[in-house]
Every structure is written in C-alpha cells, then in structure tokens.
C-alpha cells in the first residue's frame, strides 16, 4: 500500500504549550484512518496543520509526493484535501444545495466577467455545478432538503451537509473532524455507513473522533495521540489491548 498523506517529525507549539511534538503519521490510500486521544492530545492541531490553517513549526507534510508546508489552504483543497469542522461552519446565508455548490468552486473556472454578462461558459458550468451538487446531496441523503436554509436543518443533517460540501470539492483525502459529536446512535450508524461508502468511492478518509465505539467499528487503522505525541498505532483490536493507550485514557495505576 502507498500512503496518500505523510507527516514527518511534525511539531507545533502555541506560546509555551507544545501541541504536537515530533509526530510521524502515514495515511494509507483507500483506507479509513482514525486519530484518537484524550482532550488536548493535539488531534485538531494535526488537522489544522494538514489543512493549512496555521503553519508548522518544524517537520514536513507530504501529500501524494508533494510537500505541503508552503501551500495556501485554498490550494490544498484544489490538490485534493477536503475537510469538515468540529463546529460545523455551514454557510448560514445559503440553502443546503448552495452550500454544496460552493464545494464545486475549486472544480469550476468561470469568474466575475463571465458571470456579469452571463456568457455561455457561465451557464454551462453552472449547470454542471448544480447537477453535481445535487448528486452529492443525494449521496448523504439530503436531496429533499436542497432548498432549505442550511441552518434550519437539525444538527445531524447539518453534519451530513458539511460532508457533502467537502465531497463536492472532489477530494482524494477527506478529513472529518469529530463527525459523530452530537449525533444519536441511529445517526452514528448511518454516518459509519456513509463513511464506508465514501471509502468505497476511492477516497481516503482521515477522521478525528471521541466516540470509541464509532472509531473501533469503522477505522481500519488507528493512531493514538497523547499530549502531542504518537503513543501507538495499529488496527482497532491491537489498540484496544495496548497498555499505553489504556493508561493514557484511564490514568496510570499508583504505586
């Protein structure tokens, strides 16, 4: 197997607090990889570094053979990295469909000029954009809510909508930040099915998650962070038996 995303010796500190220390990570192509760890382990920092929200202090991020360190966030999306956010961040001034259509931004070309005079190019592309967006909306099961305002949807559907929006950028790597947070059991089961379907479409998935049941049932590879360091990685079964992981989650026994 080849890895689609690799980090080598990744470091990031905020003021005096070390959020990530020397983290090596490899996301195998076509696989569902999960990053878990207690609060403050550095999971979201890892995500934000890969997405380019802030720069790395030291180390390297390589996506499909290209170093990402100096690539702007929006260009990483064009290269094939898409993400969702822990706090949803939908566009509240748009319908569900329009939210997904923004995902197609990076796969379409036409600009202000073509739009201003409604040149044929703009109409052609706009048609493709809305067709594709509708397809992604249907994929996550929200087709019938296309015309509703994004923020009128319940939280579970909002989270699905952010996945549709991310998929609409036609990524090779999809990063899901706490996709299960705030969902009920039924919604979590649907979410797992959806993530597997996305994997089957050939998209590699990297997810950060708190819910152990969700991770263990879904992830094919699990990486454990604690206090900014990688303490273990392996299959779900291996991780569940790993003494260091258990210690990190439950605290170590006193002498």
């Amino acid at each position: 197997m080849t890895s689609i995303l690799e980090t080598k010796g990744l470091c990031r500190a905020f003021g005096g607090i070390v959020a990530l220390n020397n983290v090596d990570l490899a996301v195998e192509a076509g696989r569902i990889t999960a990053v878990i760890g207690p609060n403050g382990a550095g999971k979201t920092t890892l995500f934000n570094l890969v997405a380019g929200v802030y720069p790395v202090d030291r180390g390297e991020i390589v996506f499909r053979g290209t170093a990402l360190n100096n690539v702007a966030t929006h260009k990483r999306t064009a290269m094939g990295i898409a993400r969702t956010f822990q706090n949803v961040l939908l566009f509240g001034n748009m319908t569900a469909l329009e939210n997904v259509m923004t995902g197609q931004h990076v796969r379409s070309r036409y600009g202000f000029f073509e739009a201003a005079f409604r040149l044929p190019k703009s109409r052609r592309e706009e048609e493709t954009i809305s067709l594709k967006a509708m397809r992604y909306l249907n994929l996550v099961g929200l087709g019938m809510h296309a015309q509703r305002n994004a923020l009128d949807l319940p939280l579970g559907q909002q989270k699905l909508l952010t996945i549709a929006r991310a998929l609409a950028t036609e990524p090779q790597l999809l990063m899901l930040d706490e996709p299960g947070a705030g969902l009920n059991t039924l919604e979590k089961r649907d979410l797992s099915d959806l993530v597997r379907r996305i994997r089957d479409m050939g998209i590699s998935v990297l997810l950060v998650e708190h819910d152990m049941d969700l991770v263990m049932g879904l992830a094919e590879w699990v990486v454990v962070l604690d206090s900014g360091q990688k303490i273990a990685e392996g299959t779900a079964g291996e991780i569940q038996r790993n003494q260091r992981v258990i210690a990190a989650y439950l605290g170590e026994e006193e002498e």
Partner: protein
C-alpha cells in the same frame, strides 16, 4: 413552492419598478422631480457597490464616498483643466480608482470587523482632506465650476431630462451586472466568505482575492457615479465626499436591504426623498424624525425595504389564494 411565489413576486416588483422609472419623467413628474431621480440613480450606484461589499461579502466600508470623490475629481480636473474628452476622463477616473482600490486592498483586508471599519473610515477622511487641501488641482474648499457636459457625437447631455436616461441606463446596467454576479460561482464565493472565512478557504475559495475583486468593483461603481455627478452639476467641491456621505451610503444600503441588489434602489430612493423632501417639513426636528424612521425600518424590516415589501406581497398573495380556495 413558496420560493417560486417569491421569485415571481420579485419579478413583478422589478418590472413594475422599471416601468415606473422609465416612464415617470414623461408626465407631471418630469418638471418637478427629474433632478431628484438623477440623484437617486447616482446614489443607487454607490449603494449597490456597498451592498456587494458589505451585504454579500461581509466587509465593512465606512469610506465609500472617497471613491465617489476620486471619480468626480478625475472627471472634473481632466475634462476642465486638461481638456480631455469627458468620456475618456470618466474611463481614466474609473481605472485610476480601481487601481487605487486594488493597491489599498492589500493592507486594508489584513483587518477584519471593527478594525476594517476604522481603517476605511480613516481612508475616507484622508482622501477628503486631500480634496480640500490640494487646492492647486481641486480648487480647495471652493471647488471648481464650469465642468463641461458629457456629449456623444453631436449629442450633448445638456438637459436634466437627457441625463436622467443616461444615469438610469448606466445604473440599471450596474444592477443587472451585480445581480448576475451574485447568482454566480463568484457570488457564492462572496457569500461563503461572509458566512465563514475558514469554511470558505476549506472549499478552496481564495478569500483574499475575492475580497480584493469585489472591493475594486464597488470602487469602480462609485467612481463612475462620481463622474456622472460632476458632469450633471458642472461643479465639484469636497463637501459631498466627506464622512457623512459615507455614512449616508451605509444607511441607504441598510434601509434598502444589505443582501439584496434591487434593494439599493429602494434604500437610495427612501433616504434621498426623506432628506430632500420630507424632512424639510419638520424644520429643526428633522434629525429626530430621520432617526425615528430609521429605527422603525430596522425593527420591523430588519432585512431592508426590498425584502420586507417582497415578503409582504407574498403573504398578501398567499392569503388571497387561500380565500379563493375556500368553498
């Protein structure tokens, strides 16, 4: 279903409006209100630019009158002092204003929210002071007289009636272009930036570039309005380009509806009529009445006059349709 009703209602309102605007001058209206209508048209140009910037992209500008002024002075100085063809002067003014907005956008959009508001306010004040103090070119506080009319071939725009059509023709073109942009890929990008810049970047939108582009476009709109303004009055002085003028544009945008292109007409018309016609009746109480009206609009029509009227119409229609359906 409701969206469709609303869409049709919007079109009905727009068509009605256009008819009104185009036909109005032919009757009694002509003699009395042509000048007022010209000013409403000019204000609409300013307002729609600010709607794109503030309402759709979420970037505040409290110095928009500066761009209005730059266009105005470019036209005045080039066409009067240097005898340049007024149309060419207008084009040079628009290009210069656009270039200026482009350069200034780099430092200014490093700021957000209140800080951006402060910076644009400062920019507006500086430009205003330049208009006043560069007396050798601008005529200083006294301004410049005798600016030529616009003309095309042998046709001179020498009566308010002719200029009315010129101003509104250009104004409607700007509104249509704005509406097309808003409903496009670029328009979605702008609204996305307003919704959440982090999320916009995550779907691959270059937010800095889009902010710059819409800032330049709105500056060019303002500059063209400024050029028409001086060729209408044939006079230019610093007074219409000060801080109050910038605030006025914001008020027009808010009253018309920040996130609606056609609302710009309503906002510009309402405020213009209010300040030119109605408030005069109230003498010294004018500011109080002005404030009261603004408050009432903001409380009862928070999305502005246009959306408010549109929804009112849709609701009336719905009630009518229901009554029809009852046995």
């Amino acid at each position: 279903m409701l969206a469709k009703v609303r869409g049709r209602a919007a079109y009905a309102v727009i068509v009605l409006l256009l008819l009104l605007v185009m036909l109005a001058p032919f009757e009694w209206f002509l003699a009395r209100y042509t000048t007022l209508m010209i000013f409403i048209g000019l204000n609409t140009m300013l307002t729609v630019g600010l709607c794109l910037l503030m309402g759709y992209t979420g970037q505040v500008s409290l110095g928009h009158a500066a761009f209005f002024g730059i266009g105005a002075y470019f036209s005045a100085i080039l066409s009067k002092t240097y005898d340049v063809n007024p149309w060419l002067a207008m084009g040079i003014g628009a290009a210069a204003t656009g270039a200026f907005a482009y350069v200034i956008s780099y430092p200014i959009f490093r700021l957000r929210g209140n800080y951006l508001a402060m910076a644009t306010l400062g920019l507006g004040l500086i430009i205003y002071i330049l208009f006043r103090e560069l007396g050798d070119y601008t005529g200083g506080p006294d301004g410049m007289y005798g600016i030529p009319y616009l003309s095309a071939g042998g046709f001179v725009f020498d009566t308010p009636f002719k200029r009315y059509f010129l101003v509104w023709g250009l104004c409607l073109a700007m509104l249509l272009i704005s509406q097309n942009i808003v409903r496009s890929r670029s328009g979605r990008a702008l609204r996305a930036i307003h919704g959440s810049e982090a999320a916009a970047e995550s779907v691959g939108i270059n937010s800095a570039q889009f902010k710059m582009k819409i800032f330049v476009l709105s500056a060019v709109y303002a500059s063209l309005a400024g050029s028409l303004f001086v060729h209408h009055l044939r006079f230019v002085g610093p007074q219409p380009f000060g801080f109050l003028a910038s605030v006025m544009v914001v008020v027009m945008a808010v009253v018309g509806g920040l996130a609606s292109v056609w609302g710009a007409i309503f906002g510009a018309a309402a405020i213009r009529i209010l300040s030119d016609k109605v408030l005069l009746e109230f003498g010294e109480l004018d500011l109080i009445v002005y404030g009261l009206i603004l408050m009432v609009v903001m409380i009862f029509l928070p999305q502005g006059l246009f959306v408010g009227l549109k929804e009112g119409y849709a609701r009336l229609r719905l009630r009518y349709v229901r009554r029809e359906a009852e046995p």
